[in-house]
């Protein structure tokens, strides 16, 4: 007589959601509200990280190559630098590139460097960017040891302060997200507790008829999942609309345009946010329903 009662449990879950419309909509509204706040912090955090990455990739060091280095030594150096842990990109600037960029900077006043074309005083160099600004010092140490390196120029102070800021922002968003998850679980478990309380009679009858705890939990967990998924979809739509309008107005501001920074498009993070919401919604639903039922399963 063992029978897979999965279908029955899912049916009961849906029936309960449909029957307890007020309770369900209250849960969904609360869940949407917490998810919206959560989503806002998540998006802010993601974008700050994104901005920090852009800023980080613009920061780097110039490795000046010795005047007498041979072509072999130069290309050898590139391979060695590439292998150092923490190096993101390495770009070669020849003497001619350096001269051209100085010329461009001088513009009308390029007469000052007239004749440099014949005898170019600028050295060959590599521009090295980092994957993580915290590795700045180590990478510099290692590059200095290589043959053919004349010197390294970098704005070390800027790099280290940027690294500290990035770390601080990451820690803060992570801490906020943790607090929000705990608050969400608390609120949802309280809401489901109300549903469980409304159905305590049914639960006690189930216990007397010989239902296992797993069987009794089934419909409530299904209910939690339904509430979670519905809230996730609603919140995603609201957050999407809000995000797009906020981002458009931020990007049009002159400060941001000057800094040459872009933000995520909503479509870039849509899948990620959807996953986060679905996992969060079902997770909070399941954990919430289990927490709120413990007391009533002890008959």
């Amino acid at each position: 007589m063992k029978y897979n009662s999965f279908g029955y449990l899912i049916g009961e879950g849906f029936r309960s959601v449909a029957k307890q419309k007020k309770m369900t909509s209250a849960s969904i509204i609360i869940m949407c509200a917490t998810m919206f706040i959560f989503g806002a912090f998540y998006l802010i955090g993601e974008n700050i990280n994104f901005i920090m990455k852009q800023v980080e990739s613009q920061q780097g060091m110039r490795v000046v190559i010795k005047e007498d280095a041979t072509e072999d030594e130069i290309s050898n150096m590139e391979n060695k630098i590439r292998q150092i842990n923490g190096v993101n990109q390495i770009t070669f600037y020849s003497k001619e590139d350096a001269l051209a960029s100085v010329k461009e900077q001088l513009g009308d006043q390029k007469d000052i460097i007239a004749g440099y074309d014949v005898d170019n005083p600028f050295p060959d160099s590599y521009f090295v960017t980092l994957t993580d600004l915290n590795l700045n010092n180590e990478v510099q140490e290692q590059i200095k040891k290589l043959d053919g390196v004349e010197e390294i120029t970098a704005s070390n102070d800027t790099i280290s302060s940027l690294a500290t800021i990035a770390q601080g922002i990451q820690m803060a968003t992570l801490g906020l997200l943790k607090i929000l998850i705990i608050i969400s679980i608390f609120i949802i478990s309280y809401t489901i507790k109300l549903t469980v309380y409304a159905r305590r009679r049914e639960i006690s009858i189930m216990k007397y008829v010989g239902a296992t705890n797993g069987f009794i939990r089934g419909p409530f967990i299904v209910e939690g999942i339904i509430i979670g998924v519905v809230s996730a979809i609603i919140t995603l739509a609201i957050v999407g609309l809000a995000y797009n309008s906020v981002v458009t107005s931020i990007l049009s501001s002159s400060v941001i345009q000057m800094m040459n920074i872009t933000l995520y498009n909503f479509s870039d993070i849509f899948v990620k946010l959807l996953m986060v919401y679905l996992i969060l919604g079902t997770g909070i639903g399941i954990v919430g329903s289990i927490i709120s039922m413990r007391k009533y399963l002890k008959v």
């Binding site: 007589m1 029978y3 008829v209 010989g210």
Partner: protein, 227 residues
Amino acid sequence: MIEFRNVSKSYTSGLEAVHDASFSIEKGEFAFLVGSSGSGKSTLIKLILKEEEPTSGNIIINGKDTTFLKPSRIPYLRRSMGIVFQDFRLLPDKTVYDNVAFAMHVVRATPKHIRRQVPLVLSQVGLAEKAKVYPNELSGGEQQRVALARAIVNNPSMLIADEPTGNLDPNTAWDIMELLNEINLRGTTVVVATHAKDIVDKMNKRVIRIDQGNIVRDEKGGYDGEI
């Protein structure tokens, strides 16, 4: 079938509800459990259902000592018994049919089995034509019949009834008692806790009397003694 060996039960408040109770109810027997309110009757029922744990002694059900039963096995113990309460305990938002079918879903019966068994049991308690009706449209006696149908739908080996006629008028109460007797004649062990003197006298079955936690009488007869 149900055996109590020197069972005592004290609550944390210090009250000793059952003191050194020993008795045995055999397979197919019909037994009344009588006593005034607060005598320990309800505690005895709770001990059989394993809703409460005995403080000392052993309770053997269907040949198994349930004293050290793991909590996760309790549902399976309860499937061997049908339970009926004074207040019916039906689900108001489910029809008569669904209330009975519910007990079968809980033990994971197949839909096919449920469709066969539920009408059968409903006609056994005389409610075949009320299958689609909701509990609040039924009389008290009819509601208790639904509860009885739910209790026996999984063919339990014993039926435990806690004051099954407490909320019913005398005529209806007697109908329910006859139904319990019928179920007993089909081979199910029946234990009825009650203080309905006239019914116990009329039935003339085994009577276990409990008074202030002690079993003071255990013999066939009426509420107060042999008839």
